[in-house]
Assembly symmetry: C2
Homo-oligomer: 236 residues x 2
DNA sequence: CTCTTACGCTACGAGCCGTAGCGTAACTGC
DNA sequence: GCAGTTACGCTACGGCTCGTAGCGTAAGAG
C-alpha cells in the first residue's frame, strides 16, 4: 500500500513524497491536530545531505541523521519509510535547484550545456554516493523506483524535451511523425545523455570536462542529424 | 595496502582478487601449509549469486552466504574483505562467461550484438541488483573501484576495441591520428554504449529489446560516421 | 613426522534497525 | 477557555548483522 502526499521541498516547490503510514502531510489547510514542522523537514534533509558528504551512503544511519537534525529518530520514521526514501528526497532538492536549460542558440550548445550541468551535479559528493545506491535499491522496490522517477529522473527528462522542441523550432531537427515515435526517440536520447554522463563519472571515474562534453556532443548531434537524414545500417 | 593474488574463477580463467590479509592464494605451486579449497571458492561464489537472486543486494548477508555455501563465516572473511568485494567477484564470473563478440559483418551489426549481449547480462537479477550497488560503494573506496574495473569494466571495454578495429579494417571507420586520441575516443564510445544500456535498464527500467537496440545503433553509428566525415557544430 | 597454513565452530562486543509506550506540545473547532 | 486530534521527544527494547578472537582439527610440504 502506498500513499501519495503532496509535500513542500526546500526549494518551495511542491513534490510528492511516499510515506509509510498515513502521514497527512498538509501545509496550509485542512485537518485538526498539531501540524508537522516544516523546519524539521528542512533540517532533516539538510542533515541528510551533510551526512552523505561526510559518511557516504553505506555509513549513513538514520540515528545519525536524526541527531544532526536535532530531532528524534522516531520523527524520521514517521515521515520516511527508510534510508532510501529519505536520501532520494534529500538529493532531489539539489536537482530542483541546479537544473535549468537556457537557450544557448544551437542544439549542440544546448546539449553541451545540459551535459556539463548534469555532470556538475554528479560531481557533488552527496549525489555521487547516493544516486547509484538508491537506483540499486530500486531494482527490488517499485515504489522507490517511482519515487526516484518523479523526484529526479523526470526533472532531467524535461530538459531533453525542451531542447528538442527548440531544435525543431530552429529547423535543426525535423518534426516527429507521430507521438509515440517522438516519445520513444526522446527516451532514447535521454538514456544516451544521462547514461553516458553517469557512466563516465561514476564507473569510469573520470571527469566530464569541456573537452569530453564537446566530443560527446559532436557524436550525439552527428547521430541525430544523420538519423534525420535517413541513415540506416549500410550493411542492412 | 592491497594484495593482488592470482585466482581461478569458475570459468577456469585466471582473474585477480584482492583479499584483506596476505592470503597466499596459489593453486598449483608454492608455499607450505594446507592449500585453500578451490571447491569452497566455487561454492561461495555460486552461493553469492544465488543469494543475490533471492534476496537482492541489501538483504544479502555474509552469514547467509556462508551457510548456503556450507562453509564457516570466518572462511569468507579470510578471502574477501567484505560484501562488496565478494559480490564483485561473484558477478565478474558471469561477465567472463557471457561476453564475446563474433564478427557480424558490419559495424552496426557488431554494435547491436554487443548491446543486446550486455543488456541480457543486465537483465539477470544477480547483476541487476549488484552492479549499481558496488559502483555506489566504489565512489568511496578506490581499491574497490580498481577491482570493479579489472574484473568487469575492462572486459566490456575490450569488446569496443575489437569492434573498432574490425570497423577500421572494413573501411567503415578511419584510422585514428594518434594513440591518445584513439584512447579518448574509445573511452567515449564505451561510456556511451555501456551508459545508455545501463541507464535504460536500471534507471528507466525499460527493456533493451531489438527495436531499441536498432534505434540506438543507428544513432551511434550515425554519429561515428558523421564525426569521421568531419562533423562539427553547425552553429560554431 | 613436524611445520605451516586453512578450516569449522563457538562465542562475543558492538552497532544499527525499527517499533512500542508514554508524557508533552501545538493547533482546530466548539 | 476546553475537548479533540495529531506531532513530537524520549526511553527502552528484541532482533539482526558485523567482524574478530580463540581453539582444536584437517590437509598438504619437506
Amino acid at each position: 500500500m502506498i500513499w501519495l502526499i503532496p509535500g513542500v521541498l526546500p526549494g518551495g516547490k511542491v513534490a510528492f513524497m511516499t510515506s509509510a503510514p498515513p502521514p497527512t502531510h498538509r501545509t496550509g489547510g485542512g485537518r485538526t491536530g498539531r501540524p508537522r514542522s516544516a523546519d524539521a523537514d528542512r533540517a532533516i534533509l539538510a542533515a541528510t545531505r551533510e551526512a552523505l558528504v561526510e559518511l557516504g551512503w553505506s555509513k549513513l544511519t538514520m540515528g545519525d541523521v536524526a541527531a544532526r537534525a536535532g530531532v528524534a529518530k522516531t520523527t524520521l520514521y514517521r515521515r520516511w519509510a527508510g534510508k532510501s526514501e529519505l536520501v532520494v528526497d534529500a538529493v532531489a532538492a539539489l536537482f530542483d535547484e541546479h537544473l535549468e536549460l537556457p537557450d544557448r542558440g544551437s542544439l549542440g550548445a544546448d546539449v553541451e550545456g545540459v551535459v556539463l550541468q548534469f555532470a556538475a551535479l554528479l560531481e557533488r559528493p552527496e549525489t555521487k554516493t547516493a544516486l547509484m545506491a538508491v537506483v540499486a535499491e530500486s531494482t527490488r522496490d517499485d515504489a522507490l523506483r517511482d519515487r526516484i522517477r518523479s523526484a529526479i529522473v523526470d526533472r532531467q527528462k524535461t530538459l531533453v524535451l525542451v531542447g528538442r522542441e527548440r531544435a525543431q523550432a530552429r529547423g535543426e531537427l525535423p518534426a516527429e511523425p507521430d507521438a509515440s515515435a517522438a516519445a520513444r526517440n526522446a527516451d532514447l536520447i535521454f538514456d544516451v545523455i544521462a547514461g553516458a554522463v553517469v557512466h563516465r563519472t561514476l564507473v569510469s571515474a573520470e571527469p566530464v570536462d569541456a573537452e569530453w562534453a564537446r566530443a560527446f556532443t559532436a557524436l550525439l548531434v552527428g547521430g541525430l542529424t544523420a538519423a534525420a537524414a535517413g541513415y540506416t545500417d549500410p550493411a542492412a
